[in-house]
Amino acid sequence: MTNKKILVALAGQPNCGKSTVFNALTGASQHVANYPGVTVEKMSGSYRYNGRTVEVVDLPGTYSLTSYSPEERVSRDFILHEKPSLVVNVTDASNLKRSLYLTFQLLEMEIPLVLNLNMTDMAEQVGVVIDTEGIAEHLGVAVVPTSMKNGQGKKALFNAVAAAAEGGRKAAVRIDYGVMEPFLRDIEKRLADETTMPAFYPARWVAIKLMEGDGETRNLVRADSPRAEHLLRFTERLRGDFESRFNEAPELFIAHRRYREADDIERRYITPGRQAVGTLSDRIDRVVCHRLLGPIILVGVIWILYYLSIVQGYHITNYTWPLLAKIRSLAEAVTPQPGFIEIPMLRALVLWFVDSVNALLNYIPILFILFGLIAILEDSGYMPRMAFIMDRFFSRYGLHGQSTLPMVLGGIYVGGCAVPGVMACKGIPDERSRLATILIIPMLNCLAKVPLYVLLINIYFAAHKAWAMFFISTISLLIALPVSRILTLTILKDKETAPFVMEMPPYHLPTMRGVLGRATERVWLFIRKITTIVAAVAVVLFVLLQFPGINDERQVYYDAKKDKAIADFLSQIEGTPFADDLQGENLMAMILYWKEYKNARMLTKGPEAMSTLNATYKARNPVFFRIVQPGKDKVAKQANRAFKNLYRKRQDLLREIRKERIDNSFLGRLGRWPEPVTRFAGFNWRVNVALLSAFAAKESSVATLGALYEPEEEGEALEARMARGEAGFTSLHALTLMLFMVLYPPCLATSIAVKLQTGSVKWMLFSMAYPMALGLVVAVAVFSGGSALGLTGLQAMIAFYGLALALTVATGLLKEKERYS
């Protein structure tokens, strides 16, 4: 028995210093995960005391233990089903009375309990005196005062935990529910007679919960007994009887009694302190929530957040990208080497895989800064203020005050990223608003959509660049808001909503440890979850792009071209001393040497590093080096020119083959298949393929277009290639393409974030399907409508903007159905 692990649950209301207690108890041995099926984080850790291991689970901070919010549900389920050895109930000693409301609910669950009065220093400061022995006696539990911030009382808490784990349960106080007691007794009796519930759950607690009309408890009864419905009808009748006799809803009566009990304890054992007048937090809020200053400060905070994470974060990726590039070169080195035009399948697969994962790992610096800043916002107490200021605006569109941060991260104006945006939706308590926010974030301006916009604007709106850019940056919000309104009125109509009622906690200075710790944990969680799924999807996309590949006839054609290029080259260097060194296998070695050298040069900065690099390569192969760096050597220069020519021909051939392979591939066929429909939107199959490939990552759309429109001369810009390649393209085509991109389904990484945050594959699929459908409808309407009316791209743009603006205003004015009756 003594060697059994002790499992302790830490429970308490928000802002009572619970995380300080958790950190003090468990030190560095912490672990974060999610509770199954919900996005609530589960923090756990452990410590050893007197030779025994104590595992501590930090339950989410909750005011109560109803089944209305996921936090309260997981806390309750943990206590009910995991059956911890005891609960440490952390409370704020300076305001014990209101903390006791939760304490009573824990006691009713009949679990051994240690009452921890934390923040005693604060209590002393304002002159609160607590008779801890009196309370311990009254409640029948151990009471341990601590000031964990200053490390006081830790030992006493360790001892109390050990003692409570040994001592088992004591008879604790019962709240007297007065006129409700006969009702509770009736239910308890029926429970004992008709169910096996009392064997698993505290019968009185079940009775109280049934009187409250608690949904989850009703489900527990249903799971237990075949006669459940009968019993539940009985409890509903009791609830009705109670209400008509005492003119108060039973659940409100129960809450009321708990406060009365807390009042009683305060009167007996607590000497109240001085009334704090005009606290610091209140004074800060006079500015932060001010009618005019409030919104200005909000914009400032958002700007700093955006600037530090997205802008500065991208700067950091300049330094971290070379590390990822090294991983890629390592992969290049260990996989089978390419031939002149043959790329071994294994090599192609591994490199594709590494590229896909790298594209995501590249986000890590941004995410780390972002998660750190979000932790600061959370810990400081600014988040609720942000929600307070913005709620009126967002609630008109079925969103929530707390949608502000996710939407800013997603890119309300220009250049966000949907992944952290979706991840930040976690805190929105209202299920319907949360889902709506998650669903519209992918429509905002993620950074990776920008290259396509820039490309198209430069070709087709060259005369009105600034206006076109303004259009595209703001249109996304004008589409997202009405869409959110419509979603919440239709598909999301029946989703649970939650009251806005929330505490505006006192401001609090975040700690370095807390912020860094949380940022690291969340980044780690992100990496673990995302990379595995990305890996799987990357392989699928690879197959779609690679197969069935080039047929034999064409292979012969390419081989002939290759042989000719090599023969030309050899004849050009014939008679030079290099001729012998570049025969057969050596030629391929030279090509790889050249490529490696060029890549290495790109990553090298400064003249000293460059000369070291040169020396290394010279030592590796002096003959090749002469061709690479001919200097004034005439013969070598001739060879250099010939080689460059050959190298370019090889690049062209590879590009041509790649293009043909994409044309032939399953993905290419997939691009042709919807052409009969997309024709009405002005998209041909090439554009379709580019759009399909954008699913892996939005920036791929431009890369794929780059592969599809081959350059005629070296270094020709994609703008020129595309303009020539699609001579029939007009600015109206470009407009529809951009609008389709605005509505484009979330990229791979975002889709996975959506799955994590909604906890459901179905919602992920929906988040991909509805923008696709909507995008197609909009594109067809704009293109076909615009063509029919003979509008130019610019005219259509203005018309569309006007419509979207009108729709936004109209949906914002829609009257919402009464939420409460």
Binding site: K97, E212, E251, H256, R291, R392, V501, M504
Partner: protein, 76 residues
Amino acid sequence: MTLDELKPGGWCQIKRISVRDRLGQRLMDMGLCPGLHLRVVRNAPLEDPMEVEIEGRFISLRHTEARFVEVEGHDQ
């Protein structure tokens, strides 16, 4: 009268919570319990939500939610 009719700076005593289920439970859980006195601290920049102080705790709630808190106004 009901809480949503009060202007910032106004004091009142809670008489009754006239909504049940989720909202009623939440109001009670956050400490808006009949018998207690509260002060309206401010309205948000766009008028809604409102912020009240009750027993040293600051709570924000929408006016549509405050409609279900029946109060009796008084000075201090």
